[in-house]
Amino acid sequence: MLEAFEILTTSGVVLWSKSYAPVGAHVINSLINDVFIEEKVVPQNAATVSPVFKKEKYTLKWRRNKEFSLIFVAVYQSLLHLGWIDKLLENISTIFIDIYKDQLKGNRTRITTYRFDPYFEQQVRELEDNTGSVAEIYSAEVEGKKDPLVSSDNGGPPPPLPGFLKAQHQAALAGATSDEGTPPASPDTSRSTTPNHIITGKSGPRTSRRARKAANASANASSGDEHSRSRKPAKSTPAKKMRKWDADGYADEDDGEILDYSAPAEDGDAAAPAVEAVAQEDWGRRTGKGQFVLKELGEEVHNILDNADAEKSKDDAGSGVVGSGFNAIGGFFRNIVGGKTLTKSDLQKPLKAMEDHLLKKNVAREAAVRLCEGVEAELVGKKTANFQSVDAALRIAMEASLRKILTPTSSLDLLREINAVTAPTTKQHAPRPYVMSIVGVNGVGKSTNLSKICFFLLQNNYRVLIAACDTFRSGAVEQLRVHARNLKELSSRENVGEVELYEKGYGKDAANVAKDAVDYGAANKFDVVLIDTAGRRHNDQRLMSSLEKFAKFANPDKIFMVGEALVGTDSVMQARNFNSAFGTGRNLDGFIISKCDTVGDMVGTLVSMVHATGIPIVFLGVGQHYGDLRGLSVPWAVSLLMK
């Protein structure tokens, strides 16, 4: 079953919500955080209409409306497969926007009380009945209970038609959701004389006609009349009567009553007063129930949906010869003057150009395509500002999108974090060394960047231990030894910090060496342990699998991956594979992009890597010296990319 349904604005206010079971606010918050803000999770919307997001045991589907910046979210248990959720989201968004158009446009959007419950209930019931497996189960139950009784009763009730049956369940479901214990469906549901009708005026005669029709249908039910076969719940009225007729085999005291009006029904016109009489005595205790409203709602709702469909088809048809001619001329002027509502076709060419531009900046194709898609989705349906061309609008949107991607979610103050670990303010944690490890593909500059970081830490007066865990490539330990010697020399000259190398030669298991190094660091009161690892190809399963053990043994506070700025399309796969190599629950903590000085303004790798994983860039290597390590300045990167 559906757990909850919410309608919220992008500013975070829930306009209307309905929950069948308590769903924590964090479920929807994480949807907003992961999907809308951080874009960590790429919604896979290949087959379905609405994208899907899974959190804990729930599956969330949503639909966005840009015009009113609304988000419609449906939450249900992942165990269930509810095929009608897509349709529900679509219908509800159409109906809600149609009904509350004026309120949403005004500035009182957030204070209005939205009495949307009946509309929603109606939709859920309808869609559930049309396609839901729940309804099928239910129907099986009902039939099972009913059949023996029916056969034992008055001999030959007409065999229930499929259409009637369906409507019956609908009514039964409606009864189940109502809070009173009254028998849910009786002819009076069709009466329009009740005070809480929405459209009182015109429904009167129509209902009675339908009642007549229904009566006729019940008389010659075996003929398989198709009237009630329609999917409109408006026509559920006859069916409900029919149900009563069926149910009388079930409840004996109703028996006479039903027979009463099935008999005069054969006379046609005479049926109406009889029905009315029953209704009059019944409605007194039924007022205020959703059921009266239900039928009218159905009509209203279907009007809205039909209108929306008609609009859509009109839009499609509108692109005729004359229309397109006018549109083209108008569009040309609006492109200059601004105030143009952007469509997909307007954006096609500029987007292609933008994509090429990004590719030229060495952004991986996958990332570029996804960025462009995101920007397109954001821009379609928007109006350009005055004197703003499509290109300019696109440029601004792309810049914003890039900035959003590159901006880290939380502060990347490494020194602050080291201090928090080595000298905790609270007594709960004992001081311990801060462990950082560095991974990456062969030859990207792991050791070089490690020694740069080490130099930076030494400047801040930390005691650093370098652990040589590349026990595989010949010369790796010697390389680090040279670095350590240089750094020691430099630090002693400036009288800052201390550095030591921890080495265990070649051929040992790297994970064990790392673990020993951390223990050694803790025993000797080092502040930071820097672990160098062997370079590995990211698509070599054998080499990558040892990383999981490494992460478990050394348990680093930070795992940084070094990526070259030179690498092109492969950056996405590198980032992804390394990110998932540490087992469940452990990811990379940041990227170090090396060799940035060699690419000029083609810094696309930054975007590709962050875009693939949602992990921030911590450092940039910008030269050959120990001091050539920089933090990432987002405006700088964005301006280079958009140049």
Partner: protein, 318 residues
Amino acid sequence: MSTQASWTSLTGILTFLFEGSLSAIAVAILITFGVPVLLHIFFFRSVASPPSSNFLLLGPSGAGKTAFTTLLEAKSSPASKKSQTTHTSQTSTLITVTLPPSVPTGSNKYRSINDPSLKEATRNPIRYRLKDTPGHGKLRQTQGIAELVSMSSSKDLKTKIRGLLFMVDTAALVDEATLRDTASYLHDVLLVLQQRALGKGKSSTKRDAEIPVLIAGNKQDLFTALPAGSVREKLEGEIERIRKSKSKGLMDAGGGAGEEEEEEEVLGDDDGKGIFSFKLLEQVGIKVDVVGGAVKGDAEEEIGSGVRRWEEWIGMCL
């Protein structure tokens, strides 16, 4: 032809004007009646327009900013009395709300309680505008801080900022990570304000109004919530630590020669020595108050009693 010729000479024009032709009379009437109206509009706009009443609401995600705005909105509208549930925001919103008449305002500070004109104020309550911003880490720079920069540097009275509310979740501050996050955001915000105050001090006379800061300690209704004084202490301590590590941190890439001095900027006193406290900021004209409150949790009594003290603060700014 004759009329055209008459335009070339002064006497010609005068003759035309005094001829009593219909168009000349129409123009005269238009000017006579139009000019006073225009003058009134012009002077009324520029002189009599009240000072801006924009407040900016900042703070990390989950502190209760949107909940606060919806509460105020619900309070100031007569129709609905229930504030809505909220989720993480993605965009900022600007709302116009009224200050309850019972809250004293700064402009009425020196008036007697028995002043009959105060009654006037109860009938048309003061309206102010509050801008709610998203607090998510990715959106802070582009929306929160950018908004603050544009509002504080704005010359236009309509968009100028009057006060800044920084909302914190006092119940979550015990957690190290939350505290760090909150403090670093606050640090960035205060740094922007300080840069503005110092920059203005050099170039021009003190024309710009100061921007007071309220640190609104939300969720005081919870059991684990820290009291306002303790919140102040914690934030000061954490900002001190951030200040220290910032001064030692790496430069950002792409920093040209011109940018380097900006990087050196430290919150508080110039040399960055001594322990940081909000008092240090008062030297540059940034007044920071820490006041506790609660958006939720006020049971059946009238809604919004938990935010009364924040509203009083807003009132004193107006």
